[in-house]
C-alpha cells in the first residue's frame, strides 16, 4: 500500500452476558461518544471531522431489517455516508481502510455492535446455513463446529486436554482485562466436567452469549498525526471465502484462513509470523479453533496447533502471546469479536493494555471469522 492509514482512537464497552434493558442505539452511542471525546472529532462535511461511518451488524441478529438504522442517529448518518458491512468487525475495519485509500474520505468511524442476549443465537445461525440441504436437518454453527472439532482432533491427534488448556489460558489472561465478561479461575477438570453440548464440545469449550460494542476511528496519515502521537498503522489485510457445504471440504483443513493470511503477510512483508508478530488477537468461538487457526495462520505446521500450545509459545510469557485479552471464549458477541480484537491489538501497540500488556509489542495480528465452521476469515496486520 502506497499510503499509510492509522487507527487513531478505539473504545469498547464492558462485555456482559446480558445488558438487561439496554437500547442498542444507546450502547453504540457509549463507544462512539468515547472515541469522539478522545479525538475531539465531530461529524462534519467540510473535511475537518469524521467523513464517513461504517457499521458492522446483521439484520437477523438484531431483529431488524437494515439494522444499521440503530446506529444511524448516533453514528452521524444524517445527510452523510453510512454503509453497513454485514460481517465481522475486522472486515469492517478493512472496508474503512479501503474507503480512505480510495481517496473519497480522510477520516472514517467504524462501529460494531450486538446484543446476543436478545435472541436465540442458535436459530440465527440456523438461518445462516444452506436452506435446501442443511437447514431442514436443523444444523446450526454449534453442531457444525462439533463436526469440525471431531474431524480435526481425529486427523491430527489433538487431545481434549489441549483444547481445555486453551479455555484455561483464555480465562487466566482475561483476569487482567477489565472489559472481559466474568473470567473464572478454571482447571482442566472444570472444563471436562462442564455439561456436554454437542460431542466433543462442552459448555466451557464454547463462547458464551455476550452483549457489547466497539468503535474505532481510522485516519489518513497526515491527519492521523494531528490526533494522536502514536497512530497504529494498518500494514496488511486479507479476506478469504471457503466452500459452504460442510462436506465440500475436509473440516480439519483451513484453506481460506491460509489464503487470508497469505494476502495480509504479503502486503505487510511478513515471512516468519511467529518471529515477526509480537502479539496475536484471534477470533475463536470454540476452544479447538485457537489451535486450528494457529495452523492456518502459519504459526506452526499442519497438525501442530496442540504442540505449539504445549510449548508455551502462545502463553502471556511466550514468544508470541495469543489473546492476552482472553478473546471470545471468555465473552464477545460475534461480529463485535473481530472489532474487539482490533481494539485490543491497538491498546497493546500503544502500550495502554494495562495488566495484560505484552512488553514492547511493535507488530500485531488480528483475525475475524464469519460463517459456519470458519468459512470466511479476515486477517489484518497492525504496527507502529
Amino acid at each position: 500500500m502506497d499510503e499509510k492509514v492509522g487507527i487513531i482512537a478505539v473504545a469498547q464497552t464492558k462485555y456482559e452476558e446480558c445488558k438487561e434493558g439496554v437500547d442498542l442505539s444507546e450502547m453504540i452511542y457509549e463507544v462512539v461518544k468515547e472515541v469522539q471525546e478522545k479525538t475531539g472529532l465531530k461529524f462534519t462535511e467540510d473535511g475537518t471531522g469524521i467523513d464517513s461511518t461504517v457499521t458492522c451488524s446483521q439484520d437477523l441478529w438484531d431483529g431488524r431489517t437494515i439494522s444499521g438504522e440503530w446506529a444511524a442517529d448516533v453514528a452521524g448518518a444524517h445527510l452523510r455516508p453510512e454503509e453497513k458491512v454485514a460481517g465481522d468487525g475486522v472486515s469492517g475495519v478493512a472496508y474503512a481502510l479501503m474507503q480512505i485509500l480510495s481517496g473519497h474520505y480522510d477520516i472514517v468511524l467504524v462501529t460494531a455492535y450486538r446484543r446476543e442476549s436478545i435472541t436465540n443465537g442458535r436459530l440465527v445461525e440456523w438461518m445462516s446455513v444452506d436452506p435446501i440441504f442443511h437447514r431442514m436437518l436443523g444444523l446450526d454453527f454449534r453442531s457444525a463446529a462439533a463436526l469440525q472439532a471431531r474431524r480435526y482432533m481425529y486427523k491430527y491427534g489433538i487431545t481434549p486436554e489441549q483444547c481445555a488448556k486453551v479455555v484455561v489460558k483464555s480465562h487466566k489472561n482475561a483476569k487482567n482485562n477489565p472489559y472481559a465478561q466474568a473470567p473464572k479461575d478454571l482447571s482442566l477438570e472444570d472444563v471436562f466436567s462442564s455439561p456436554i453440548l454437542s460431542s466433543p464440545i462442552r459448555a466451557l469449550d464454547a463462547k458464551p452469549v455476550s452483549d457489547g460494542a466497539c468503535a474505532l476511528i481510522l485516519a489518513r496519515e497526515e491527519k492521523a498525526k494531528k490526533f494522536t502521537d502514536k497512530p497504529v498503522w494498518i500494514k496488511g489485510i486479507g479476506d478469504c471465502y471457503d466452500v459452504h457445504f460442510l462436506g465440500d471440504r475436509d473440516l480439519a483443513d483451513c484453506d481460506s484462513l491460509m489464503g487470508a493470511a497469505k494476502q495480509a503477510y504479503r502486503m505487510a512483508g511478513i515471512e516468519n509470523p511467529v518471529k515477526e508478530i509480537d502479539v496475536a488477537e484471534i477470533s475463536e468461538e470454540y476452544s479447538y479453533q485457537e489451535l486450528l487457526w494457529s495452523e492456518g495462520l502459519g504459526f506452526c505446521g499442519r497438525g501442530e496447533g496442540g504442540k505449539l500450545l504445549d510449548q508455551g509459545i502462545t502463553k502471556m510469557t511466550g514468544e508470541m502471546p495469543i489473546n492476552p485479552s482472553g478473546g471470545s471464549l471468555v465473552g464477545n458477541p460475534s461480529t463485535v469479536a473481530g472489532a474487539a480484537r482490533v481494539v485490543e491489538a491497538v491498546l497493546q501497540l500503544k502500550g495502554e493494555a494495562g495488566a495484560r500488556q505484552v512488553p514492547n509489542a511493535k507488530t500485531a495480528l488480528v483475525h475475524g471469522i464469519d460463517g459456519v465452521c470458519g468459512q470466511v476469515h479476515h486477517v489484518m496486520i497492525l504496527g507502529i
Binding site: 431483529g63 431489517t65 444524517h78 453510512e82 458491512v85 460481517g87 474507503q99 485509500l101 471465502y241
Partner: protein
C-alpha cells in the same frame, strides 16, 4: 492519488415474479456469468467478489457465504454489504472503493433478490425495518409512505391525476423495449387512471412489482480497464447521503420530501460543475418505486424548479426520445428486485453510455454522462455519476 475506476462488465438476469428453475446461488451465478462474459473474463481474473442482498426478503443470514458456489467467491476476498433499498448502490460504491484503494484491480460485485422466497410478504419484510418498540406495529410499508409523497405533490401543484398516468405509461413503453424488465404491459392512460386504488392517490399500476432477479458488474482499475474493453464506463463521482432514522421524516416540520436526495444532488452537481442538470447530464436512471415518486423526486434531485416536474412529464421531456430521458430501462415501476434494483440503475446507465442498450437505447443524442440513483433505508440516497470519457 487514488486510481480511476471503470465498469468493464455488465450482466443481469431476467427479472420475473419467480425463478423456480434455479436456486438463489444459481440466480446469482447467471448474473455473474453474464457480467464475466460481457467483460470477456473468467472467474480467475477476478480479485474480489462482493455479494449483497436484504436478508429478510429471503430469510437468509450471511447470503454471501451460502451462495459461494454461484458467486465464484471461493478462495477469494470479499464481503457482504446491505443498506436496505440502496443495497445495490452500496455494492457498486463498495466495489469502487475496493478497486480505487489499489488493493484489488478487478472486482466482481453482485446484488440480488429472490423475493418469491418470502411468499410475496414483501410488505411484511419491509415493515421489520421500523423501530420495533415505537414504530413497527403501526408501519404500513412502502406504499403508505409513497402515497403521502404523491398526495403532497398533487396538493402542492394541483396537477391532478394525469401526470402520474403519463409517467407510468412512459415507463411501460420503455420496459417493453427492455428484455430484462419484469412487467411488460401495453398501457393506456385510462388503464392507469382506472386501476384499483391502493392507498389514495396511489393505484395498483402506480406501484412497483415484487420482482426476483440479480445483477452483476465487473469493475477494473484504469490500467486494467483499458486492456479489458474498448468501451469502459468511467466512475466520475458519487454521493452517499442517509437521513436520521428515528425522527419520523413525515412528522409536521419539513414537508415529507426527500431531503437526502436534494443534499446528494447539490453536493454532486457542485463538485462536478453541473450547473444545469438537464443539460449537463444526458440520461437519468432514477430509483422510483412509484410513478408519482419519479415526478416528485425530479424536483428533489434539482432537475427542475419546484412545481415544474409534472409539466415536463406532460410535454414528454422525460420520454425515451425526449430532451432529458428518465429511466429508459422502464424504471423501478416496471422492475423491482429490491436488492439488485439500485445496481440495475447503474448497469442501465452504463449500457446507455456504451450505446449497448439495444431497443431502449437513447438516440436523440449520444449519452456521454449519466446519473443513477438509489433509494432505501429511511429515505437514504446514493447518486452515482458515470461518464464515457476519463477526464
Amino acid at each position: 492519488m487514488a486510481r480511476k475506476v471503470a465498469i468493464v462488465g455488465i450482466g443481469q438476469t431476467e427479472h420475473k415474479t419467480r425463478h423456480p428453475e434455479c436456486s438463489h446461488a444459481e440466480l446469482i451465478n447467471e448474473a455473474a456469468r453474464r457480467a464475466l462474459e460481457d467483460a470477456q473474463l473468467t472467474i480467475k481474473d477476478i480479485d474480489a467478489v462482493l455479494n449483497g442482498n436484504m436478508d429478510l426478503f429471503e430469510g437468509h443470514n450471511l447470503l454471501d457465504t451460502i451462495t459461494v458456489d454461484g458467486s465464484g467467491a471461493y478462495l477469494k476476498p470479499g464481503r457482504k454489504m446491505n443498506t436496505g433499498g440502496t443495497t445495490g448502490g452500496t455494492m457498486v460504491t463498495s466495489a469502487w472503493y475496493h478497486v480505487a484503494s489499489g488493493i484489488y484491480d478487478v472486482v466482481l460485485t453482485i446484488a440480488s433478490e429472490k423475493q418469491e422466497e418470502s411468499g410475496g410478504n414483501t410488505t411484511s419484510a419491509i415493515i421489520t425495518c421500523a423501530d420495533p418498540l415505537a414504530y413497527r406495529p403501526f408501519s404500513t410499508g412502502a406504499v403508505g409512505a409513497l402515497a403521502m409523497v404523491a398526495a403532497r405533490y398533487m396538493h402542492d401543484t394541483g396537477c391532478g391525476e394525469e401526470p402520474g398516468a403519463i409517467a407510468r405509461v412512459k415507463a411501460a413503453d420503455n420496459a417493453l423495449k427492455n428484455p430484462y424488465a419484469h412487467l411488460k404491459l401495453h398501457l393506456t392512460l385510462e388503464d392507469v387512471l382506472e386501476s384499483r386504488m391502493l392507498i389514495y392517490p396511489l393505484r395498483l399500476l402506480h406501484m412497483c412489482p415484487q420482482s426476483s432477479g440479480a445483477c452483476a458488474l465487473v469493475l477494473a482499475s484504469e490500467e486494467k480497464a483499458k486492456k479489458i474493453t474498448k468501451k469502459p464506463v468511467w466512475f466520475k463521482d458519487h454521493v452517499i447521503s442517509h437521513q436520521e432514522c428515528f425522527k419520523r421524516p413525515l412528522s409536521p416540520d419539513p414537508t415529507p420530501s426527500m431531503i437526502s436526495q436534494t443534499d446528494a444532488a447539490r453536493k454532486l452537481y457542485q463538485r462536478n460543475g453541473v450547473t444545469q442538470p438537464r443539460r449537463d447530464i444526458d440520461v437519468f436512471e432514477m430509483y422510483e418505486p412509484a410513478a408519482w415518486a419519479e415526478i416528485a423526486w425530479m424536483e428533489d434531485f434539482l432537475l427542475c424548479e419546484r412545481g415544474e416536474a409534472w409539466k415536463l412529464v406532460e410535454r414528454g421531456v422525460t420520454a425515451l426520445d425526449g430532451e432529458f430521458p428518465i429511466n429508459p430501462s422502464g424504471g423501478v415501476v416496471s422492475t423491482n428486485s429490491i436488492g439488485a434494483t439500485a445496481m440495475v440503475r447503474v448497469a442501465e446507465a452504463a449500457l446507455q453510455i456504451r450505446g449497448d442498450a439495444g431497443a431502449h437505447q437513447v438516440t436523440r443524442k449520444e449519452p456521454k454522462t449519466a446519473v443513477a440513483t438509489a433509494f432505501g433505508g429511511c429515505n437514504w440516497t446514493i447518486m452515482t455519476l458515470l461518464s464515457k470519457n476519463l477526464d
